[in-house]
Amino acid sequence: MLKINHIAKTFNPGTISEKVALTDVDIHLDEGEFVTVIGGNGAGKSTMLNAISGVFQVDCGTIEIGGQDVTNLPEYKRAAFVSRVFQDPRLGTASTMNIEENMALAMRRGQKRGLRWGISAAERKMYREQLHMLDLGLEDRLGSKVGLLSGGQRQALTLLMATIRTPKLLLLDEHTAALDPKTAANVLTLTQKLIEEQHLTALMVTHNMKDAIAIGNRLIMMNAGRIVVDVSGEQKKALTRDQLMKLFEKASGEELANDRMLLS
């Protein structure tokens, strides 16, 4: 479903603020794989997700989604395949537009937008039903500005919007990190439910190692702009925190050894 072939990305090349964010990322995802992504701050997790969604062009390598090469497609065209939920709840919705308008925008992701009316009555009914499932009381507030909602409500709405038109790939970038623990747990449960129901292929960045182990059917760990740990299948099911720490130490230790070799 997703093929990332040896991509790299350096920000501000040739300047004092030059920053190598991805050194060499190479990963293939099968349809229905739900991958959790962990790694330290600045490891390149967000950069990888942004590269996939086309926020910027990569320096080298190719990206394929559902068999189509999207490496040179602009961000808005990749939206036909990819949907996203960001860390900041304000980023995923338009706060000055109301709930149904936001959902109608998501409903038309990757579709042609013409001069038909922006929302139909049938859609509105469907939105109300979908919102009802969230159990947040939003079904009675279709006309409320999204800016009035709490962070958790906005994030739940963003998730709903990301899956209202089934994407080939769902990207979640620490989408529960800005929420309080209880809300975060609810949003995470909703995430799992939506992904399972629609059998989505997804990448979910999290800073919570426990979640990363417990959720999904594959786990990758990033360090210094590359993927250093990749476990799936039975190994992922049996994975423990200690094992993961060891794997990480081994991977990053090798890196240190490599660096030393380079320096000598």
Binding site: S53, P74, E75, Y76, K77, A79, A80, S83, R84, F86, R90, L91, G92, T93, A94, S95, T96, M97, E101, A104, L105, A106, R108, R109, G110, Q111, R113, G114, L115, R116, W117, G118, M161
Partner: protein, 325 residues
């Protein structure tokens, strides 16, 4: 004797007051008509400034372009309707130029607008046949609006005609921004990252918005030229500030009242009328016409600062609250 003089004196005073008041009242229809024309212009500004969140300075030039195109076409025998349409399209082209500067050449929006505005000055002079202005007298041509009819009770009264214009324009805007495409433009202004994530081409959206906005502004210029009886290459100087004034006055006066999009656009038009009524009163009170632009700049500056001041007040209050807690 003394008492009589006093009565005569106060009679004279009251009489003078009445004369002055009548002067003001006589000036009000004209102010309302001008306000309506600038209301159309301000609706154009609203599209960029409020909907797309782009500060577009092209308008100072495109309003004069509209005036020039209409004046030249009407004086060379074209029908008013065709001339208005041509003025609209000329404005659309001006918006396209700014949009391309901004999105295809990566020039900041404000600077893109300034570039187009500067270039338009030369173009407008050319349209006017290398003259700074051109008369279109209502005596010689059939015009759709003229200041001469401002106090006439007839179907030719510009206020009536302009109210119809504004109503049709607001209806059209309400429809357009309710369509799928219009919604995508609103999303582009509200949250460009989200818009792109939903598959919206935000760059093209900005260009389309700038084109539409400047088309409307140019149309208002075509109406203004007819209303005042001439087009002038400098008729758009400071137009953006008047447009902003209308938007902001409308929001400050009616902001909490209306949430419906059509009503919001109406408040913009009413804001422009209020602006011209206030200007009329200020002039009546004895202010020099030459000082108007300074006054406008100061008033708009203060209104633009209000949200900033308000948020500073709120956050400092919160800080103090935090210390007590």
């Amino acid at each position: 004797m003394e008492r009589q003089g006093c009565i005569r004196c106060s009679l004279l005073f009251v009489g003078g007051m009445i004369v002055e008041l009548i002067k003001l009242i006589n000036a009000l229809p004209g102010a309302a008509a001008q306000g309506l024309i600038w209301g159309i212009m301000a609706i154009g500004v609203y599209i960029t400034y409020r909907i797309l969140d782009v500060a577009d300075l092209t308008v100072d030039g495109s309003i004069a372009t509209g005036g020039a195109v209409a004046a030249v076409m009407i004086t060379s025998g074209w029908n008013v309707g065709v001339s208005l349409l041509a003025a609209f399209l000329a404005g659309v082209l001006a918006g396209l130029a700014t949009g391309l500067f901004h999105t295809r050449m990566g020039i900041p929006a404000i600077l893109s607008g300034i570039l187009t505005q500067l270039g338009l000055y030369s173009i407008n002079l050319r349209i006017l046949g290398n003259k700074a202005n051109m008369a279109i007298s209502v005596n010689n041509f059939h015009l759709i609006v003229s200041s001469r009819n401002a106090r006439q009770m007839s179907l030719e009264n510009p206020i009536l005609i302009l109210v119809i214009f504004v109503a049709v324009l607001i209806g059209g805007m309400y429809w357009f921004f309710g369509t799928e495409y219009g919604c995508s433009l609103r999303a582009t202004g509200a949250n460009p990252n989200m818009a792109r994530a939903q598959g919206i081409n935000t760059e093209t959206g900005k260009v389309v918005g700038l084109m539409l906005s400047n088309g409307i502004v140019s149309l208002s210029g075509a109406l203004l030229a007819q209303y005042q009886g001439f087009a002038d290459v400098g008729m758009g100087r400071g137009a953006i500030v008047i447009g902003l004034a209308a938007v902001i006055i409308g929001e400050v006066v009616f902001g909490k009242l209306f949430h419906n999009f059509a009503l919001k656009l109406m408040t913009v038009a009413v804001g422009a009328i209020l602006y011209y009524l206030v200007i009329q009163v200020v002039l009546w009170l004895g202010l020099n016409t030459n000082d108007l632009k300074l006054l406008t700049a100061l008033v708009v500056g203060v209104f633009l600062a209000i949200p900033h001041w308000r948020s500073r007040l709120v956050s400092s209050a919160r800080r103090k609250g935090g210390q007590h807690a």
